[in-house]
């Protein structure tokens, strides 16, 4: 990889981050939903003792990693939406016609989307801590890396979907129809141990379960699935959607 490609990756990243910093309304919109869940569900359900909740933990402790994962996933997927916007505005052509490889462009976009997602995840983490969630401080370092894996996975998925679409509304629809159920059917909101067998089977089939569970393992020191399994699934998902996203994007015509 030569310096021109690195430059291209950097500039794609820079653009994504700059746009994010300038669109404050989007930051708020993306963070507000997980924040409300955290504040209202976390506070409202505080006295309830969920079956399967590890002893010594309250619901808010459990919910915080789930909401961080949710905000990282949503924010990353929206990096895919930016491809559709770029296509609509014509800006995509400017990048497709540049004398750099498509792979560099995808890497830059992925890093940009992940950076933004990580920032939003950290905002939710801080919000959770301010609300009183007990977070393992040493656990935050591996948790950040895990959040990045989640982000890579979701950016890749978002890109793969976005490349095939022209209409941003359809993308939003897919997000709501596909991602919301997946989030609810992961362990973001309630523990694996608290549900019936058939629902648990579905949750085990849901890749997001492992992402949420792994993040929770690092942040509050309690996971339902062994961390090694969570990490392996996360790495596998992350590799496959990144490759898929890069492949789909490299084949796209303006």
């Amino acid at each position: 990889m030569n310096s021109a490609e690195i430059q291209a990756i950097y500039v794609m990243w820079l653009r994504h981050v700059k746009r994010f910093v300038r669109a404050r309304s989007r930051l708020i919109a993306n963070v507000i939903q997980p924040f409300f869940f955290l504040a209202f569900l976390g506070m409202g359900l505080r006295p309830i003792n969920f079956p399967g909740l590890p002893s010594g933990l309250v619901y808010l402790d459990f919910l915080t990693p789930g909401m961080i994962a949710m905000s990282v996933i949503f924010s990353s997927m929206f990096a895919g939406l930016s491809v559709i916007w770029d296509r609509q505005f014509g800006f995509l052509k400017e990048t497709l016609i540049a004398p750099v490889s498509r792979i560099s462009i995808v890497i830059g976009k992925t890093l940009g989307g992940s950076t933004v997602a990580l920032i939003q995840g950290i905002v939710i983490l801080i919000a959770g801590m301010l609300l009183g969630a007990r977070i393992s401080i040493p656990g935050t370092i591996p948790a950040f890396i895990f959040m990045l894996l989640i982000a890579f996975f979701a950016v890749g998925l978002g890109l793969s979907i976005a490349v095939t679409l022209k209409d941003p509304d359809v993308f939003s629809l897919i997000m709501n129809l596909l991602m919301m159920p997946l989030i609810f059917l992961s362990t973001a909101f309630f523990p694996l141990e608290s549900v019936s067998d058939w629902l648990r089977t579905i949750m085990y089939l849901n890749p997001l379960t492992y992402l949420v569970d792994g993040l929770r393992g690092f942040l509050i020191g309690s996971s339902s699935i062994p961390l090694v399994v969570d990490l392996s699934v996360a790495l596998g998902l992350c590799a496959s959607t990144t490759v898929l996203g890069a492949y789909m994007f490299s084949r796209s015509e303006a």
Binding site: V11, R15, F91, K93, E94, A98, P99, E253
Partner: protein
């Protein structure tokens, strides 16, 4: 060898032939106009020449690089201003240019100098730090032209550079195009469906319709093909004047309609005095003289049997504007 060369270039979309075996030879340093109505295949041709679309058949070379086999070399030597705006609204003018300069691998120092230079060329230096969303349509187009030039391309492709702009802005853009062609020495390949634009800017014009090139030449030669100028003379006694003029070797034809004569000649402005002299000799008094030069519109009419589909183009523009408004929400 031309700087842009195409042989039998063809693109088929779902059985529909958008570009049909066209040959092109654009010479270095010229402004080459690609004139045709919307849907004639202009944008498809540009997309193939700029490596954004694969030709179904045929081949094309830019500066000797093959657009199919050497796309990245081609991309390095071309600048492109697309028909649809391709700027990032959320970035400033300067940032848009910086983004481009980095993508094309310019170093820091080079970038700063070049960005200032191209901004000056299109008179946008004072607006450099303004977000593009606050730019007018004409300013956006100028910024895009500046961006297309940053990496010192050998060929600048402009796809309908003045589409959707008002008349004054269009004129201004024309002057910028002439200036960059002269100062930067860059070859310009522009598509347009505006006759005056092709006529005013191009050294040579290709007329394209239904994916085929119908004629390629200098605008003046194309117009001469129509058969020269028409001098329309209003006079007191047309009949003897018509008879006398028909005997002159330099007159190609005379038609009388009422009190007026339409006289077909080459270089009409030089023949007017002679026509008046003939009239005086016969004692015919001339009341009025009108010289009509053929326009590219006449040329177009001659080659296609139709006027250029301006109405269709307007409809497309309206749709585009509506789409843009939807987007700006």
């Amino acid at each position: 060898m031309g700087i842009v060369e195409a042989r039998g270039l063809t693109r088929v979309y779902d059985g529909l032939v958008a570009v049909d075996h066209i040959d092109l030879d654009v010479e270095e340093g010229e402004i080459f106009g690609f004139l045709g109505p919307n849907g004639a295949g202009k944008t498809t041709t540009i997309k193939m020449l700029t490596t954004l679309l694969r030709p179904t058949e045929g081949e094309a070379r830019i500066c000797g690089y093959d657009v199919i086999r050497q796309p990245s070399q081609v991309r390095r030597v071309i600048g492109v201003v697309f028909q649809d705006p391709a700027l990032d609204d959320r970035l400033t003018g300067w940032e848009n240019l910086d983004f481009h300069a980095r993508l094309y691998g310019l170093g820091k120092r080079e970038r700063e100098e070049r960005i200032e230079e191209v901004l000056r060329l299109v008179d946008l230096s004072e607006w450099a730090d303004e977000l593009v969303e606050n730019y007018s349509g004409g300013m956006r187009r100028r910024l895009e032209i500046a961006r297309g030039l940053i990496h010192w391309p050998k060929v600048l492709f402009l796809d309908e550079p003045t589409l959707g702009l008002d008349v004054q802005t269009r004129r201004a853009i024309w002057e910028y195009i002439l200036a960059l062609n002269k100062r930067e020495g860059v070859t310009v390949f522009l598509t347009t469906h505006y006759m005056e634009e092709a006529d005013y800017l191009s050294h040579r014009v290709a007329i394209i319709d239904h994916g085929r090139i119908l004629a390629v030449d200098e605008p003046r030669n194309l117009k001469d093909m129509i058969g020269g100028d028409v001098v329309i003379v209003g006079c007191s006694d047309p009949r003897p004047l018509a008879e006398e003029l028909r005997r002159q070797s330099w007159v190609k034809g005379v038609e009388a309609h009422g009190g007026e004569l339409s006289i077909y000649v080459d270089h009409g402005e030089k023949k007017i005095p002679e026509i008046i002299m003939v009239a005086e000799r016969l004692g015919v008094s001339v009341d009025s003289v009108l010289l009509r030069k053929p326009t590219l519109e006449d040329v177009y009419l001659r080659f296609t049997g139709r006027r250029i589909r301006e109405e269709a183009a307007d409809a497309v523009e309206k749709m585009r504007n509506r789409a843009m408004r939807r987007w700006r929400r």
